[in-house]
Symmetry: D2
Subunit: 145 residues, 4 copies
Amino acid sequence: MTAYQPADFAIPSGFQHYAGDNAEDYLGPFFYRVQEDEGGEMFLEGAFRVKAHHCNMGGSTHGGVLMSFADYCLCMPVFLHHSPGVVTVSCNSEFIGSSCEGDLIMGRAELTRQGKSLAFTRCTLSVDDRPVLTASGVIKLLEPR
Amino acid sequence: MTAYQPADFAIPSGFQHYAGDNAEDYLGPFFYRVQEDEGGEMFLEGAFRVKAHHCNMGGSTHGGVLMSFADYCLCMPVFLHHSPGVVTVSCNSEFIGSSCEGDLIMGRAELTRQGKSLAFTRCTLSVDDRPVLTASGVIKLLEPR
Amino acid sequence: MTAYQPADFAIPSGFQHYAGDNAEDYLGPFFYRVQEDEGGEMFLEGAFRVKAHHCNMGGSTHGGVLMSFADYCLCMPVFLHHSPGVVTVSCNSEFIGSSCEGDLIMGRAELTRQGKSLAFTRCTLSVDDRPVLTASGVIKLLEPR
Amino acid sequence: MTAYQPADFAIPSGFQHYAGDNAEDYLGPFFYRVQEDEGGEMFLEGAFRVKAHHCNMGGSTHGGVLMSFADYCLCMPVFLHHSPGVVTVSCNSEFIGSSCEGDLIMGRAELTRQGKSLAFTRCTLSVDDRPVLTASGVIKLLEPR
C-alpha cells in the first residue's frame, strides 16, 4: 500500500490520496479534497496529472483513463460517508473535450440523491475550467458485514 | 511501440494485438479477433487477462479497467473499417458481475448502426460465459486528413 | 382501467395488454408476449403501433414515445416475476433509426442480470427487423409491503 | 398546430410554448424560457404540469413522461440556436425522486459542449427544488437543406 504525495504530481495543496486501492494508483494516482461552494454546499473535488502512458496514439488522454478518474470522482462523495464500501452500478460518460500529457485534470462531483441502498452522483472533469468529460453514476452502498 | 503476444497472457490463439496505443497497452493489453456467428454475421471478440494491478481493494477487477476494455471493444468494430480513426462520443456501462485476478475476460461487440459520421455499438464482457459488464457506445468517425 | 385488444391496433396475435397503468395506455398502448429463442432462453417481446399523435414535427416517432416503450420493454421481464412491483433506476437510450406513423415497432428485451434488489435489462426496438433504438436499464425490485 | 397558454396549466408567467410538434403537446404540453444565472450564463428552463393521465399505477409521474420532458429540455438549448433542427442521438436518465398529479416539474438545462455537428447537454428536473430526474444528452445538429 503506497501513499502518494500530491506535490510529486504537481497537484495543488490541500488534496489527499486514499491509500489502499492498487488499481486506482496504477490507473492514476488520483487525489481528492472536500470543498464548499458559494451556497455552503459541500462537493468533492478530484485531481489527476496526465502522464505519457495515459495517452492514446493521437496524444490525447485515453478514454478509459478518463472514465477511471470519473468513476473515482463519482464514488468518493458516497464512500467518504459510508465506511462499509460502495460499488458502481452504472457509469455513463460523454467525451466533450480533449486533454493531453502534462494536463492537470480536475473533477467536480455532486451527490444528486442519497438513498438507503443507492446513491446518485454526477461529475464534470475539466482542464483549466474547460470541460473534457461529463459523467453520471448509480452507486450501491454495501451493507456492513 | 510494443507488439504483445497473446500466448504471454494465456489468451486463446487467433487473437491479435493492435500495436500503437501506449495507454491501451498500459491499461491492458487488450487483444481482438473477428468472428462469425451462426447466422453468418461478423462480430468482434476482445480478450483481456486480469492481473493483480488491475484489481481494487476488494480484489475485484477495477471498474475503470473494465470500462477501458469495454471502450476498446466498442471502438474496434468501427475502427477496423475506418482507417482515419475514431473517437468515443459516449460510453454507458452497467456493472453486472464481478471478476478477479487471473480471469480471462472476453468481450463480444456488435455494431448496431453504422452511419456516415456516427456509429453505434454494444458489447458484453464475460468470464466463462458469465456476463460481468454491458456497455453501449456512440462512436464518431474521424474525417480523412 | 381499460383492456386494449391487440387486434384493434393491428398487433400480431399472441400479444397481451397489461391493464392498470393509465399513463402507459396514454403513451401507447403497449403489448407484450413471452417468447423462447432458438437456444431455449425466454425473452420478452413488446409491440406498439405508431399513431399520428406519436410523431414529431418531422413526421418521425417522437423520442419520448420511443423511450416510454423502451422503459416498458426493460421493466416487463422483471415485473412479470416480481409481483410487488418494480421501478426504473436508470434508462439509457441510443436513437439509431427512424420510424413513422403506421409502423409496428417491436421490442426485444433480455434480462442480463437478476439480483436480489436490482435487475439489469437491455432491449432493442425494431421496425421490420431494422433497429430504431437500443436501451439499457437498471431496475429496482420493490419490497413486498 | 395548437398554441397552448402557460396560464391554462398554472405555469409561471414568462414561459412560452413552441407550437408545431404534436407529439410534444400530446406528451406534455411543455413550456420553456431562457434565463440568466448569477454568473451571467444563459440556461434553459422548462416547465410541465403533471395531469392524471401522466401517472402510473402507483400514482407517480410515469418514467416515459419524465424522459419525454427531459428530452425536450436537452434539445431546446441547441434547437433555439440552430433553425435547421436537431435530433437526439442518445439520452441517459436517472430517476432520483418521485412526483405526482398536480406537481409543477421544472427543468434546468445546460449546454456543456457545442460542436459543429454534435452538442452535449445535461438537465435536472425538479419539483419545488427537489430533484426527480437527471439526464444527459448527445444532440445532433441537422444540416440546412
